[in-house]
Structure formats: C-alpha cells, structure tokens
C-alpha cells in the first residue's frame, strides 16, 4: 500500500511540471511586449526598456526564464501583480478563504440535500418522488448557473427582499478585522450582535448557486449506487432477518452505497472552483474566482498566471488526496492494486 501511495504521488509530479510549463508558455504567447503593454501609448525610451527587460529577466534565454519561474514557484514566489505591486501569493492567500468558505457551504448544501434525495428516490423507485428527483437533477445538471444566480437574486433579493444582493458582509453596520478570513468564524469572534446572521444571509444564495450542479451529480450518483446495493444478497438477508426497513436501508445499504458517492464528492473540487468564478462574479463575492476574471480585464498577466497555477495546483492536490483516501478506506482496491 505504501508503494501505491508513492507511485500515485510520483505520477502527480509530471502534471505539476507540465502545469508550470503551460502557464509559463501561455502568458508568453500573449501578443505584445509585457513592458510596452504596461507603458501604453506614452512610449518608453529604448535604454529604459532595456533596463526594465533586464530587471524582469526578459533578456535571458527562454529556458533560463522558465527555470527561474519554476524555481520561484518551488520557493513560493508566484510573481508580483502588475496592478497592485503585491506578491500574487499574498493576494491569493487573502482572497482564498472567501472562496473556500463559499465552496464549503455549497458542498454542504449539495450533500445535505443530495444524499437523502438520492436514497429516498432509490428506495421508492418509480414513484412520483423518484421521477421528481430525477427531473430536478436533470435540470440542475443542465443549469447555466450564472442565470440561476440572476434568477435567485431577482426573486429572493429584489422581489421578496429576503437576502442581500451581493458581497460577504453588511459593511455599513458591521466592521471587524479579519482573523481567520472566514466570515462565519470572524463574525462570531467579533462579538457584534447580528454579525453572524448577516454573514449567513450573505452566504445563502451563492451557496445554493454553487451547490446546484454538485447537488444534481450527488443525487444521481446516490440513487444509482443505492439501487445497485439494494439488490445485493446481504440486503435481502437483512430484510429476511426481519430488520426494520429503516435499519436495512440506513445501516446496511447506505454504508456501502456511499463509497462511490464519496469519490464523486471529492471529484467535485474542480467543479466547485470553476463554478466559483461564475458565482463570485454574479454575487460580487471577493474570492479568487472574481479576482481571476478581473486580472484578465486589467491585463494583469502575472496575476492570471499565478492564479491559474495556484487554483489548478489545489485541484490536483485535492484529487490526489481523494484518491489516496479512497484507497485507504476501500480495502478491495487496496489489495487489488
């Protein structure tokens, strides 16, 4: 098993190197000289241009530039934003908790609704409930989530006035220094009355929007996995022993049905982070997704490069961890592989 772990980790390394290579090449493919692009129409004196090029290492051969870039990344240096002049890693670290909080709440929403819906649909196969769950799941799976977000804002915020339209916090009424970067925790720590409630109300709509596709995927997966398990012999035995249906489904079937569901949940990280780009743009949520889109419109290529490197790196790492956990949990794979 240890050898499997090592092999799996080793297989991830080339992906990281290739990722560095792709982000490096991509940014150099952007037409135009990065310095001239920055100076704009004012122009720049040739000797100053040469000096800046030397400072940024742009006068070196490309392979040296790549080694320099890769070396920087390995030491946690993802470059400096052209616009804000702060290190990318620093900007990312400030914004990432907002994305993480949103992704976490979206996933909780998807799991809490998706697993019970899938289980009940499987147990009551062919019923109206089953058909409704599958129809809703199909719609959720096909949903353009940016439109779904606008609809929810239109109905819940504008029409019913239940939830705020955008942002993470009601900054007019509450202010506190970020401690953890997670608004739910910080608002509790701040001891300001109502702050936690405000944080929750800001999270509701974005979580629903971000959780919609994972919800559909989890509900479908739970249903089909549950249907498979329910036809197994040991479930029939449990029923024949006279155990209550709740015990059979909840204790015997669900445990085994959840194994593939857990994998699917783990593999949703990429979906969640990609979905965060859209969700954060709609709700003006100050996370890394919105920051990435803004860095494109500001032509902040180091930020784009570093941001994509960091987001993809996190997804690769999480997928690796899910894989390893899966093997650790599921003995059948452990011994087979």
């Amino acid at each position: 098993m240890f050898r499997f772990f090592l092999r799996r980790v080793a297989l991830t390394l080339p992906t990281f190197v290739a990722l560095m290579f792709v982000t490096f090449v991509a940014v150099r493919l952007v037409p135009g000289d990065p310095i001239e692009a920055r100076t704009g129409e004012r122009g720049i004196a040739p000797e100053r241009l040469a000096m800046l090029r030397h400072e940024l290492g742009l006068d070196q051969p490309v392979w040296q530039q790549f080694l320099h870039y890769a070396n920087g990344i390995l030491h946690g240096d993802f470059g400096v934003s052209i616009v804000t002049k702060t290190p990318i890693l620093h900007e990312f670290a400030i914004l990432f908790p907002a994305t993480l909080e949103l992704a976490f709440c979206g996933l909780i929403f998807a799991i809490v609704l998706g697993i019970p819906a899938g289980v009940i649909a499987a147990v009551k196969r062919g019923s109206i409930f089953d058909h409704s769950v599958m129809t809703v799941a199909l719609a959720g799976y096909s949903m353009p989530i940016f439109w779904w977000g606008l609809l929810l804002i239109m109905f819940m915020s504008e029409y019913l006035g239940l939830t705020p339209v955008s942002g993470r916090m009601d900054l007019i009424n509450y202010y506190f220094e970020p401690v953890t970067g997670f608004m739910l925790i910080d608002s509790l720590l701040s001891d300001q009355e109502g702050a936690f409630g405000a944080a929750v109300s800001h999270l509701i709509l974005p979580s629903i929007v971000l959780g919609t596709i994972p919800l559909a995927v989890i509900a479908r997966m739970t249903r089909s996995s549950m249907l498979e398990v329910l036809s197994e012999d040991y479930v029939r035995t449990a029923r024949a022993k006279g155990l209550s249906p709740l015990r059979v489904v909840g204790l015997h079937a669900l445990r085994n049905a959840l194994i593939p569901v857990v994998t699917v949940i783990g593999l949703q990280t990429g979906t969640l982070l990609a979905g965060a780009v859209l969700t954060e743009t709609i709700f003006a949520w100050p996370g890394v997704g919105k920051w990435l889109i803004e860095s494109i419109s500001r032509r902040d290529y180091p930020a784009l490069q570093g941001g994509i490197m960091l987001i993809s790196g996190i997804v690769i790492l999480v997928n690796l961890i899910v894989d390893l956990l899966y093997v650790a949990i599921n003995p059948r794979i452990r011994h087979g592989g």
């Binding site: 992906t15 952007v30 606008l150 609809l151 990609a274 994509i308």
Partner: protein, 323 residues
C-alpha cells in the same frame, strides 16, 4: 460496410468471442447474424430509442431549435442587431407589450425574440463545431495511442491528464486570455477543455477491441495498420463515442455561454445567449424578461440535448444504461 471482405471474414469467430457485444454496437455483426434480416439496424435503434419518452421529447425540442437556427432569417421579425430607439425596454406581449416585438426589446431597443432565434444559430453552431473537432481529433489521438503505444501514448495521455487537472472554466479562461475574446476562440477554448474525454474514450474502446479475435484475424489477413485502425476497429468503438458526442454538445453550449457571460466569448452585438445575459444584469429590477428569456433558452436547449443523449445511451450502449 457489410460487403467488406475483411469484415465479413473477421466476423465469423466474433459471436463466440464477444457474446456481450450488443447488436447495435457492432454494425457489421448486426447486419450479418444477430438481428433477423427483416429489421434494419436503424429500425432496431429507433424502437429502442423511442421506448424512452423523455428522449423522444428531447429529440423533438432539438429538431425544433435546429429548424429555428436554420431558418432564422425567415422566422425572425427583425434583424438581431437593429436598434429601435423609440422602443427601448419594451415588455413582452403578455406583460403589456406590442405584437411587433413579442418578447419585448432590450436596453438599446433590439427585438429579444429575434436575438434569441439568431442566438440558437450561435449556440448550436458552437456546440456542433466543438463536438465535430473534438471527435475528429479525439479519434486520431485515441486510436494513435491505442495502436502505436510507447512514447506516443505516454505523451498524449499525460497531456490529457494535465488538461483534466485544470478546472474546465479556468482552462477555457486561460486559452481565451491568450488568444483574445471572440467566437472562434471560444470554440478553440471549449474544444481544448473537452478533448480529453474523447481521446480517453476512443483509446479505451480501441484497446478493448484490440484483444478480440476479429482484430487478430484481420491482422493475420494482412490488413494494413491504417485500415485496421479506421475501418476494422473504429466502427466497433462508435456507440459510446456517439453518446459522448451528443452529451458533449450540451456541455459545450453551457461552457461557451459561461464564457460569453463573463465577457470572454462572443463580443457585442453578437446575439449570443450568455452575452445577452451579461448585458441584462443591470435590468434585473426594471426588465426581468431580458434576464429570464436567454437563460431559459440555454436551459431548454441543454436539457433537451441531455435527454436525447440519455436516450441514445440507453439505445446504443446497453452496458452504460443507467439502473
């Protein structure tokens, strides 16, 4: 293809070697022995497909939207980019609008219905182009890595692993940021994102076929490598590929609309559904129809294609059938 001498010779041992192969998934076999002669494969496929009512409904909607797209110039009441300045933000007919603009007008007085109809052209066009390019490239790369193995396979599959590792929208954003936002670059970006599915699928299907006896028989008969790849093996890998291609169209439409919404796809005044939604954001309060209708168009199209794709899967590939 039934009178292909190689396939005829090759299919003799195949019933024994591949009892699990469905009639529809290996057309050569189907024609020769499994299906009774009076039922054509197309008939057999249709009877399996039409069992699924959702799939038939999906197909009907897809046909309807396709017709809208083809005949857009005849059906649309106005040009999608003509601005009627005297009719700005006109509500739809059912909310007190006028019949010459049935779905109302947008912030610069363009007819929403005409833009939606022309938008069908763009969305279906993107979906189909992405699908065709990625199927073609996927077949070549997938077959090459299954047949040639070695360094070709390692390089192709590692590159695909990398593409899969980057979240789809983030990768599409990177491609568009490099190439610049436009409709063509949207197609390129979405194709890059969805290519690995096809490559992996074709490679896996081809490798499964390679060990079967009809392939060995064809090799013994002296069939060349290219013929073996494209004529002997490929037709037997088509069923899962067709299913994936159908479902891939809807994913491509969604992804392209997301790019359009972010301002990285089709540029104004192109009547692309995602871009229309992006323009509508300021009018959530005052003109809800501009927000509602383009999204509804995307949702209906994507749901219809997914329903159709599920039906295709059940009909073509019983092994993948959902329980």
């Amino acid at each position: 293809m039934a009178d292909d001498p190689v396939l005829n010779a090759a299919s003799v041992p195949s019933p024994a070697s591949s009892p699990a192969t469905s009639p529809a998934s290996s057309p050569a076999d189907a024609l020769i022995e499994t299906v009774p002669p009076e039922i054509s494969p197309l008939r057999a496929f249709w009877s399996a497909f039409s069992e699924n009512r959702g799939a038939v409904l999906g197909l009907a909607v897809v046909v309807f939207i396709t017709l809208l797209a083809i005949f857009a110039p005849l059906l649309a009441l106005h040009s999608p980019i003509e601005q009627f300045r005297e009719h700005v933000l006109l509500p739809p007919v059912w909310a007190g609008g006028i019949w010459s603009f049935p779905f109302g007008t947008d912030a610069v007085g363009r007819d929403v219905l005409s833009r939606l109809i022309y938008g069908a052209r763009i969305s279906l066009g993107i979906g189909l182009s992405v699908m065709l390019v990625s199927v073609a490239v996927g077949i070549v790369l997938g077959l090459a890595s299954a047949f040639l193995r070695g360094i070709v396979e390692v390089v192709v599959m590692r590159v695909m692993d990398l593409v899969v590792a980057i979240p789809s929208l983030v990768l599409a954003i990177l491609v568009v940021a490099v190439l610049g936002p436009s409709l063509t670059n949207t197609i390129v970006a979405v194709t890059v994102v969805y290519l690995p599915r096809y490559v992996r699928l074709v490679r896996a299907a081809a490798m499964a076929e390679l060990s079967k006896e009809y392939v060995v028989a064809a090799q013994v008969a002296g069939v060349g490598k290219l013929r073996l790849m494209f004529v002997t093996v490929l037709p037997n890998c088509l069923a899962p590929l067709i299913v994936q291609a159908a479902l891939g169209i809807s994913d491509a439409i969604l992804e392209a609309a997301a790019l359009g919404f972010l301002g990285l796809g089709a540029q104004p005044p192109t009547p692309e559904w995602g871009a229309m939604l992006a323009d509508s954001r300021e009018f959530i309060r005052s003109a809800p129809w501009i927000v509602t209708l383009p999204g509804l168009a995307i949702l209906v199209t994507v749901v219809a294609i997914n329903l159709m794709g599920d039906g295709l899967r059940d009909a073509l590939d019983p092994k993948l059938r959902r329980s």
